[in-house]
Symmetry: C2
Subunit: 431 residues, 2 copies
């Protein structure tokens, strides 16, 4: 027998849905995988809003990457931050200066908040919802606002404290607004003596003429009704023009309107991780779209670089009709699986299975307890049935977490008692 070729080194950057699924689909491949992430855990981002409103604990929706991958002996997990690439040497450069060589690179570092060019001014005032720390920061802001309102007598200040603005009417914004409304009118209802939490004002601000734009119009209407039944105000056709420590200012079809509030939550825009641009430069000028995403081929590689894959929110995957795939978890997961299989086939000398094809299984969003909307194929669901479907799908997705049963139990408990036991004001600024 000929001496075997050295095993190819696959470097996966990012342990989100895309990166993790890619690593898992390389389980039986004759390759050496390194998965590097800035964090030591995989985060189930779709449920972050439940942490932000005290229903779940961070550990309920985050699992250590090592723990998930510990039985997969060909994977090495590394905690580290990739800050650049050396395309010539085929190396990723880490923040501590060390380098990781690769034969095959999979970039899956996702996206971050985007404040329409006002990042420096608005980010400190209006946290987004991407990390555990974001979620505990929002939780601290929302709960502290009620605590502060309880202590004062000035009616204008009290009203401002008890006003919560959520910017962006997509799934995250709708879920946040609904959850804050439920927190105020149910969970906290009897907790205070001087204020009535159920009189809190939750305002959802959306640029376009309806919430959940990516859903069929009928479901947008259903979601709007559900929000109104929770007494969430929806400000449609309103573009945010300023965020201050005291208010959020919008342009409502030419009219300037100011909403006094100290709690603004940002669910409006995302941009690609900055690594996209750096990779494109290192590869000698790959195409990057306006959102910072790398334009890929149909097999998820960078053009002319068959060993460099980009997947998930960071990838601009062009469709035949000129559109691109949306930045949602199922796309990242399916791309991760596809790329893992593709690398495995190549390593085993098998031919490619053809370009990536997204199987759209549908979309869903939840507004509150027993209220959700879902669309799959031609089927449109709303209300309790959609909520049950939402619950089922999310529990299935949570399969990577060893403590899935615990989360289910916690949800069940919260559902019955309407309690949110993780209502802790903790500090991330070292206080």
């Amino acid at each position: 027998m000929a001496s075997p070729e050295p095993r190819r080194r696959v470097l996966i950057v990012g342990g989100g849905f895309g990166g993790l699924l890619c690593a898992q689909n390389l389980a039986k491949a004759p390759v050496d995988v390194t998965l590097v992430d800035r964090r030591n855990f995989h985060l189930f981002q779709p449920l972050l809003y439940q942490v932000a409103t005290g229903a779940l604990s961070p550990a309920n929706i985050a699992a250590p990457l090592r723990s998930i991958l510990k039985r997969q002996r060909n994977v090495k997990t590394l905690l580290g931050e990739v800050v650049g690439f050396d395309g010539e040497a085929k190396e990723a450069i880490l923040s501590d200066g060390s380098r990781l060589g690769y034969d095959v690179l999979v970039l899956a570092t996702g996206s971050t908040h985007h404040y329409f060019g006002k990042d420096a001014q608005w980010e400190p005032l209006a946290p987004g919802l991407k990390t555990i720390e974001d979620a505990t920061r929002i939780r601290q802001k929302v709960l502290s606002a009620f605590e502060h309102a309880e202590q004062i007598n000035d009616p204008a200040l009290r009203k401002k404290l008890m006003t919560f603005a959520v910017v962006g009417g997509g799934p995250t914004g709708v879920e946040m607004a609904g959850s804050i409304a439920e927190l105020a009118s149910h969970t906290l209802r009897r907790d205070f003596r001087s204020i009535d939490p159920s009189s809190a004002r939750v305002v959802l601000i959306e640029n376009s003429d309806r919430v959940l734009q990516v859903f069929p119009e009928k479901l947008s209407r259903k979601a709007l009704e559900a929000l109104h039944s929770l007494r969430v105000e929806t400000w449609l056709n309103c573009r945010v023009t300023d965020v201050t420590p005291e208010s959020v200012v919008v342009d409502r079809q030419g009219q300037r309107e100011e909403l006094p509030t100290e709690t603004v939550i940002w669910a409006a825009g995302v941009k690609a991780s900055p690594l996209g641009k750096l990779l494109a430069e290192a590869m000698g000028g790959g195409e990057v779209d306006r959102g910072g995403r790398i334009v890929t081929t149909r097999d998820c590689t960078v053009p002319n670089h068959p060993d460099v894959f980009v997947i998930g929110d960071l990838a601009h995957y062009p469709l035949a009709d000129g559109k691109t795939l949306p930045g949602v978890a199922p796309v990242a997961m399916q791309q991760g699986q596809y790329v893992g299989e593709a690398i495995a086939r190549r390593a085993s000398g098998l031919s490619s299975k053809g370009p990536f094809r997204y199987r759209d299984k549908g979309i869903m969003a939840t507004i509150g307890r027993s209220m959700a909307v879902a669309q799959t194929g031609k089927l449109q669901l709303s209300g309790w049935l959609a909520w049950a479907a939402w619950l089922f799908v999310h529990i299935m997705y949570l399969a990577v977490f060893e403590n899935r049963v615990l989360v289910l139990f916690q949800w069940f408990w919260n559902y019955i008692t309407r309690n949110r036991s993780a209502r802790l004001i903790t500090w991330t600024d070292g206080r």
Copy 2:
């Protein structure tokens, strides 16, 4: 009928075991209670080490004070920090300058870490274990040390990273050392590729000649054996003389010894909350002991101030034999109950039931899975039986938490799987 006298205003400062029990025992009293705490939750401190080692989430051992007290309509809960007193006006002064008037004051603000006069130098290097943030900071330090060790090749640095020092051989220190050892040799055993976590070195440093000093000698020996079976090194008769970013230095009976480590956990000393001294000054010179605790009368009041009570870790309660009551949870709880009842009796015009009497139900400490020591009266237990007793008592204590069942379930799960699912490296410095 004569017009009723105005209801007396009872101000409780601190929502720990003492303050909370006091408030709960005033449920039926004709008084208006205000409970003020810097945090919005009651923390079950005896289980903080489980958060620090990733076995439980913060919310598992913390419950919102409002939530606990919401059905007790004569209690108002306030989030705020008391920074002083005006004894003349009978007012507590909050950090925002506002004042809270009282007719009866109960001070129960507990204790904080004590670094033998080296607070400023050692505290940043050797976190103690009093708050949720302390626990997540220790968790971050311990887990990051393993992550860092996985990435480097220098054997000396790797050894230093995988050395963990716990200072103080009391219950907290013993529990921490045992938990870190279990984390390393069981939970993380198969998680890494370059290092063997079970080769980690855990060193417990104790000033005296045995661990668990407050226990009978036989149980100290049993605890020592249990620690050794978990491969914890115990350095007895060692006094810490310095803590640096690179090591901890001890004096072992005249010999200087240096242990290279970047992870030092402080479980050695506590001092009373600084409010004790401030109260004594405001009251015109109450007696304060060396540890900053206020010397109380037999009915838990400040001498000559029958309406000012001091309970829990902040109280120096003198016993007939010249000793004082220890700073443990059962003392705080029983004093809280006693004071609550005393205030209620006075408000209802009933006579006092006599001085406070501590019923010592025993002490217990756990070393690890299925290993504990317990003493109650003349009965001394160790091993599995003591552990079962420990578990039972702690679950009973957790009765104030609505999610007790969840915590039990989580424990049961951890016990079977040896898993610690809350192994998240999160940042408290805003990173």
